[in-house]
Symmetry: C2
Subunit: 323 residues, 2 copies
């Protein structure tokens, strides 16, 4: 993994991935007690940064043939759209109890959806079996070099846009699941904005990356469900991503879930953005846990906006106008 791979991914994504803007709000700066620059990947195609990694990986494939991925959410939609655009069939392995609307969205993006029973079946096994039987390339959600390279293109944009706004030093807060986004951004910043330091942000009780960074070795989550931030919950940091995180990131920041709902209400009110709980966790860290952050300015990743309406309504009803 190196900056050249990220630059090459950026060239493949050009004209396809959106260059999302960098947003600011004097009201949020006041709450955060420092200047914050917000990179809203909820405005990316399919509503999350995952499209970048998916398009990067699928556009780097040699030879013909389709792809397979397992995901209940953002990676599924990213892979489905990128495969469709690139003229390759896509099979997405999704849990049968996933929200119907997500299954329908993935189908509407042209993918074949294979359902499995979350209680009794193993999605990785199903993915591998499909890959072999039907000669499909497996696109892993994060532990995949060209996926990391694609997510790293966000880091190139952050480096440029932050410099345009006069910010060349400070923490870059990134919501972190398996570490694909965080490690991609970290590699890009190392090369293009060495004064910006990535900081993984995780929900309480699902802080595998924070604990792994502290102990220096891969630690696992004890639970894998029951979080509002479901989109960023993974068992443990990746084999490819963790060494990058360990080398380049500052300490992790752990945030209570409820703060994500408060941050969602403020993102709606002050930035006019719809965010998902996991997607707003870095904003929650910036707004409500500033004591753990250094410097006069910070960059905040909003990673996605694919939220179930009842959760959004709850955030706005409980915390809107007064968050």
């Amino acid at each position: 993994m190196n900056i050249e791979m990220i630059e090459a991914a950026a060239a493949r994504l050009k004209g396809h991935a959106r260059r999302t803007p960098m947003l600011t709000s004097p009201f949020l700066d006041k709450i955060a007690r420092r200047r914050i620059l917000i990179k809203p990947e909820c405005l990316q195609h399919t509503g999350s940064f995952k499209y970048r990694g998916a398009r990067s990986a699928i556009s780097a494939l040699e030879g013909p043939g389709g792809v397979v991925a397992y995901s209940s959410g953002n990676h599924a939609q990213g892979v489905a759209l990128a495969a469709k655009e690139l003229g390759r069939p896509a099979v997405i392995v999704m849990p049968a109890d996933a929200p119907q609307v997500k299954i329908e969205n993935t189908r509407a993006l042209g993918a074949e959806v294979v359902l499995y029973d979350r209680e009794t079946e193993d999605r990785e096994k199903i993915g591998k079996a499909l890959s072999q039987e039907r000669d499909l390339t497996l696109v892993r959600p994060f532990d995949e070099p060209q996926v990391i390279a694609g997510q790293g293109t966000v880091g190139l944009e952050i480096a440029e846009q932050a410099a345009e706004l006069g910010v060349t030093a400070g923490d870059v807060l990134v919501c972190c699941g398996g570490g694909g986004l965080t490690s991609g951004i970290a590699l890009a910043l190392e090369a293009r904005a060495p004064g910006l330091r990535p900081r993984p942000v995780e929900p309480e009780e699902f802080d595998d990356v924070t604990r792994s960074l502290r102990s220096g070795k891969i630690e696992r989550n004890t639970r894998l469900s029951g979080s509002l931030c479901d989109a960023i919950i993974t068992p443990q940091p990746g084999v490819l991503t963790f060494p990058i995180l360990k080398r380049l990131c500052g300490p992790g920041i752990v945030v209570p879930e409820e703060d994500c709902l408060r941050a969602m209400a403020l993102a709606a009110d002050r930035l006019k953005l719809v965010t998902e709980p996991g997607g707003a966790i870095a904003l929650a860290a910036a707004l409500f846990h500033g004591d753990h952050i250094k410097g006069d300015a910070a960059v905040v990743m909003i990673s996605g906006g694919n939220v179930d309406m009842p959760v959004l309504v709850r955030a706005l009803s409980d915390y809107g106008d007064s968050a």
Copy 2:
């Protein structure tokens, strides 16, 4: 009014106004039964396009001194922020019964707020009196050349961004109150994208521009309150704006208010944007009134996102996930 004034405004706004992206969604294309390109000015500073006109007008002032404006909403915040940035005092005349949060926001942006009684006092008179007594320049909300020029900078961006996406012909749907935004966009498109035709969009019962375009002379609204789309309700088209609208616009499109709520839910779900009812009315026209639109592609302005939380919650609760 001419394209040179808009280009000059764009030069003054460079590095200050955000260049908002042009968004697309295959899901919305399907509902609209044509390709739609969405220009989200809810992502502009202060949550609406009004910042452009305000910054254009205030940055064009000669000599020192402050400004005064009357507005209960988006223009107030645009003028307050632009004046603060440019180091000029701003006085905003607001109705005493405006939502407290809007009054506080305007004050937080550094403006002095003068409250008046909507039932017994005339805001224009108060504005003029303040202007004379305190030597403040009045920044009118739409019938003001440099305000129109500032709003026209959206049109320059639409011309460029639509061409990048391969769209050089079709209707450009613009929510229309006094006509400042629509006339500015119309002048920009006339010069830079003559195949794109502006179409004003208004709520039912508040269709002064549509009727004026039909009759060829300025027609008034019979009511001025009681609309969800309060931000785009004005008594009649402007003296400066109407001749431009008449010369350059296609027929107006009139949309029931309830469709704005449906469009708001879809903007949240598919674009991850928070919109206000009047700000979503052009999207409502594109999605639900396509029979009135010509061509394979249309451009849709989303003008603002400053919505009261209960209205947003109502839109999402009533129409989310199933709009």
